[in-house]
Amino acid sequence: MSDAALRRANAEPRWLRHLLLAVGLGFLFIFLLLPLLAVFTEAFSAGWRAYLRALQDDEARSAVGLTLLVAVLVLPLNVCFGVAAAWAITKFDFRGKSLLITLIDLPFAVSPVVVGLVFLLIFGAQGLFGPWLAANGIKIVFALPAIVLVTMFITLPFVARELIPLMEAQGKEEEEAAVSLGAPGWQMFRRVTLPNIRWGLLYGVILANARAMGEFGAVSVVSGHIRGETNTLPLHVEILYNEYNAVGAFASASVLALLALVTLAAKAIVEWRMRRETRMLTANLAAEQN
């Protein structure tokens, strides 16, 4: 069989190709593009002025502030955990390693509502430490600490999961070379490991940030919905929507949708950089071998 005939036999017939394209793109149009367009259309349905007024509202601004604060508090801890876990898992052998990897995945599998409930059972008024906390005047549930704790739980896997396969693939020769040349541990990490993993790290942080700012279920259980105090932006969206304030709800929702679009763009750029570095690395290797 000739090449052309083979290629023809190897592709779907023209009608099927068009059908698959139409069905696939139609599905994405209905399920992805329409919702995205609807968020912004609804937000601007009463005009620019109403949109801006909704965003300048005191409660909306305090919700944005709280959402940013939670992300700022959670992400550094998440990065430290992710790097530490990935370092231990990928550079050393120890018993129980695969169990540890499964445990890191666990927060993805637990329902956000259950996560919220779990922290309520520990720190709530009827919880394990509830009476002690109340006696000492420490407020965790229905306050910032619980919102931070559930967000830490929910975002726990993101950085570690990005770093583990990356550092596994990179091996440990470079670090071993640095150490045998006398570099102290911290210097080895800063000069060798960090440059190698920076894009993977950034990728994990981008994903964790999107989840931290957007988490709804777990936060809604422990926040208490105190307006102007413990309302994050997603909770603010819910409250306005339930009050039939569609413009206000979608104005705040559009901020979160914008955040999602920025996340997707940043993700695409980082993916592109990672691919380029891998390509350069393989090209260098090939050049060395020749």
Binding site: R17, F94, S111, V118, G214, P234, T263, L264
Partner: protein
């Protein structure tokens, strides 16, 4: 703690890194989850069973599992088509569309919920065409399926894409040159290669759907026994200060989560060994 086998490692920081990771994981995940188990252990088995198999609870499992199963199936069919056209065909705007597939991961669930409810409501962009046909989507059980389809969409596509990219064109060409029709090639050659990824993607979408809360509650209508999902039932028990009832249901959901986690791990192992076997076969050839 030294690594338990092999020579002493050259690299520093093992104790520090593992110690930090274990402390973080224990304080944040293991201890709180055992708190849930402790609270539940104060119930007798009969009490636990009475709550976990109450009428409203059983109905909520039916709704949650039924809608999740349906949504994951829809995603498996359309996800295969989407992954296929994204890898194999070229069309304008492909890279943009490819990036957009992750939208459900990036868009906060509450935003997805209110948007889908607005779209599928009787006067919404989509609902206004469906309602005259007698199809009520928003504020009815089909709305739950729509929300869960949105949430699960990226899982099947993203699991399948690398697998389709890895299929060597030579394999299909060999089948074609041996006289196989395109359909035969698909059924005999491509399908077995895609199957593990399809099952894995289905399971990931399914297990995410079971616990989903934010996107569903706005569109579901939330009628007890009809369109009430289990996570919402937990919340309404909490709002009635029935902490014990909420705990019992949370334990049921947590057990399901553990089972799903092990199923997913097993599936990934299965996919990897099949993939490995194919790669080894390729190396032998």
């Amino acid at each position: 703690m030294r690594p338990l086998f092999g020579p002493a490692p050259l690299l520093p920081g093992f104790r520090l890194a593992l110690g930090c990771a274990l402390v973080y994981l224990s304080l944040l995940v293991l201890l709180p989850l055992s708190g849930l188990a402790f609270k539940a252990s104060q119930l007798t088995v009969a009490e636990f069973w009475a709550i976990a198999s109450g009428e409203r609870a059983l109905a909520s499992y039916r709704v949650t599992f039924g809608a999740s199963l349906l949504a994951a199936s829809i995603n498996t069919v359309f996800g295969l088509i989407v992954a296929w056209i994204l890898v194999r065909y070229s069309f304008p705007g492909k890279r943009l569309i490819d990036a957009l597939v992750d939208l459900p991961f990036a868009l906060p669930t509450a935003v997805a919920g209110i948007t889908l409810a607005t779209l599928y409501a009787g006067n919404g962009w989509i609902g206004r065409y469906l309602e005259p046909l007698g199809l009520k989507i928003a504020f009815a059980p089909p709305g739950i399926v729509v929300a869960l389809t949105f949430i699960g969409l990226p899982f099947v596509v993203r699991t399948l894409q690398p697998v389709i990219e890895d299929i060597e064109p030579e394999v299909e060409e060999a089948a074609a040159s041996l006289g196989a029709s395109r359909l035969q090639t698909f059924v005999r050659v491509l399908w077995p290669a895609l199957l593990p990824a399809l099952v894995t993607g289905f399971t990931l979408a399914f297990s995410r759907s079971i616990g989903e809360y934010g996107s569903v509650i706005f569109i579901a209508g939330n009628m007890p026994l009809i369109s009430e999902i289990t996570p919402l039932l937990i919340i309404s028990k909490l709002e009635q200060y029935d902490v014990v009832g909420a705990t019992a249901l949370a334990v049921v959901m947590l057990i399901i989560s553990f089972v799903m986690l092990f199923v997913v791990n097993g599936l990934q192992w299965w996919a990897a060994t099949r993939h490995g076997a194919r790669a080894a076969g390729g190396a032998r050839r």
